[in-house]
């Protein structure tokens, strides 16, 4: 069977700076992978290369069997397969919550408006925020905004969901509501790649933890293994810091 995501020999430079060094990374269908690592280790760069918010310099990227190359069609197709949730939500502030979820379907999939709104309502209900559908993003709390952002991505019916630190811009009391939505999503069998430092979440849902440092994948392990007996000295140091802070 095809992997949901297949990355081989990925290199990424920002000018002279070598941000991703020969990364091999794959995610099976329905697998949940948590990526962690210190700041600047290239976690964001990696998942942003997967849906080409950043262009990579060399290596192969395949999403749902679609090879990313110079063909723009394939790029569009990959972006349709992969939904993304950002640290800072990036909701469209000039559109109502419902419109945030409906309009992208209309614009990128040419979904008829009625159908798009129905689906928007359905997914807003799933993230328990349908009652706020008429409000604007600026009128919601951070946790609510992030749940809307998740609903917006899900409305596009992606096969894979990419999360880049979805809870790290949130006040502590709002983290739970977002994680709960993500746990439910995982239980429903969504393929997920999550950059996060929420180790409780990793323990609860991850099939695999990938530890990155300095643009390289340093360790890949199951959560139990990673948290109880990290093999690599560097991931051990990272974990001990997480516990103390």
């Amino acid at each position: 069977m095809n992997n949901a995501i297949e990355v081989r020999g990925l290199n990424k430079f920002y000018g002279q700076y070598h941000a991703l060094k020969n990364i091999d990374f794959s995610v099976a269908e329905k697998e949940r992978v948590v990526i962690c690592g210190p700041s600047g280790s290239g976690k964001s760069s990696l998942i942003r290369c997967i849906n080409q918010l950043e262009k990579h310099d060399s290596g192969d990227i395949e999403v749902s069997g679609i090879q990313l190359d110079d063909n723009v069609r394939n790029l569009d197709a990959v972006r349709r397969e992969a939904g993304m949730v950002f640290q800072h939500f990036n909701l469209f502030p000039h559109l109502s919550v419902l419109e945030n979820c409906a309009l992208p379907q209309i614009l990128s999939r040419k979904t008829p408006r009625r159908q798009a709104e129905a689906r928007a309502g359905e997914f807003l209900d799933r993230v328990h925020i349908l009652d706020q559908a008429a409000k604007f993003p600026g009128q919601l709390s951070g946790g609510q905004q992030q749940r809307v952002a998740i609903a917006r991505a899900l409305c596009m019916r992606p096969k894979v969901m990419l999360f880049d630190e979805p809870t790290s811009a949130l006040d502590p009391e709002m983290i739970r509501e977002v994680l709960d939505v993500m746990v439910t999503l995982a239980e429903e069998g969504m393929t997920m790649v999550v950059v996060t430092h929420e180790m409780g979440f990793a323990r609860q849902v991850a099939d695999r933890v990938v530890y990155m440092e300095a643009g390289m994948v340093v360790e890949t392990a199951s959560p139990e293994q990673f948290f109880t007996a990290a093999r690599n000295e560097r991931s051990q140091r990272f974990l001990s810091k997480l516990v103390t802070t």
Partner: protein, 356 residues
Amino acid sequence: MANAATPPSGEKPVARLVKLLFGDPLAAALTLLSAVLILALLPLVQWAFVDAHWTVAAPEDCRAGGACWAFIGAKLRLILFGLYPPQSQWRALTVIALLLTLVLLSLSPRVWGARLLGIWTLGLVVMLLLMRGGLFGLNYVPTSKWGGLPVTLLLAVISLGLAFPFAVLLALGRRSKLPVARGVSVFLIEVVRGLPLVGLLFVAAILLPLFLPPDWTIDKLGRTVAALTIFAAAYLAEVIRGGLQGLPSGQIEASQALGIPYWRMVWHIILPQAVQKVIPPLTNTAIVMVKNTSLVLIVGVFDMLSAARSAATDPMWPAPSKEAYLFVALIYFVICFAIARYSRHLEMGVKARNRT
């Protein structure tokens, strides 16, 4: 209630008034300045209202002094419609009515969109055909005979409307990663901004025909619109660029991640936000452009100001140019003030949405 009205110190109302008007040096200065201004305005009030002639039996009756508002009544058609044939002036009036209707229909941001744009395009075509005639038994009126308020309004609306898409392209080009697009945009914007509008109008109306082959007769009104459009586009481009600059990159990233195609993203995601951010300078440009249309009189286009000027040269009336200019100024003021109030209203809407 009675308690609240009584000042705690027990001051007398007169004392409070004196304190309010002369309490500190700034207040005293302002009070004096206002008094001088009011005194200076008294003769104007006398002229405009007390001694004014609202109706006269003959133009000679206005010689007595005081404003001759009767002149405006007598020349209203000339000022509003210029040399447009009197028996067809209902068409010009209909154009004004149509335009006002469209404006009123477009006030609520909720109706903005591609459909409204279509309606406006259609409406403007209908207005131009109505002015021009030559169809459906309407007699043909060449653009050289068009004049007055319809010309002023059409010049403003059409030049701003046509300028907007160019302005968007220039603004996007100026921020583009492609050096060629950026260079061309910067060059065009700076060249046009460096030229006075009067110069641009001269080039379009007078010089351009000298260089074009003689059988290439683009209408003078059309060339004037082109000059106004180019001018407005350069200024609007800079305003829109300001709006684009404040836009977080996350908005574009989110659009890309959702697979929204580029031009749809520009139209639905980027522009609405950029425009919302720059409502005050956008309003400013719109108001300036409305008033700039009056400059077309120097190339012989008969806008409202030119019409008023020519009305005032009628030797039958004793020098009524003050009244004519004041009347035109009042119309300009009403238009510009309405634009300003409307933009204020839009801004409040944006603010309300961004607050809990």
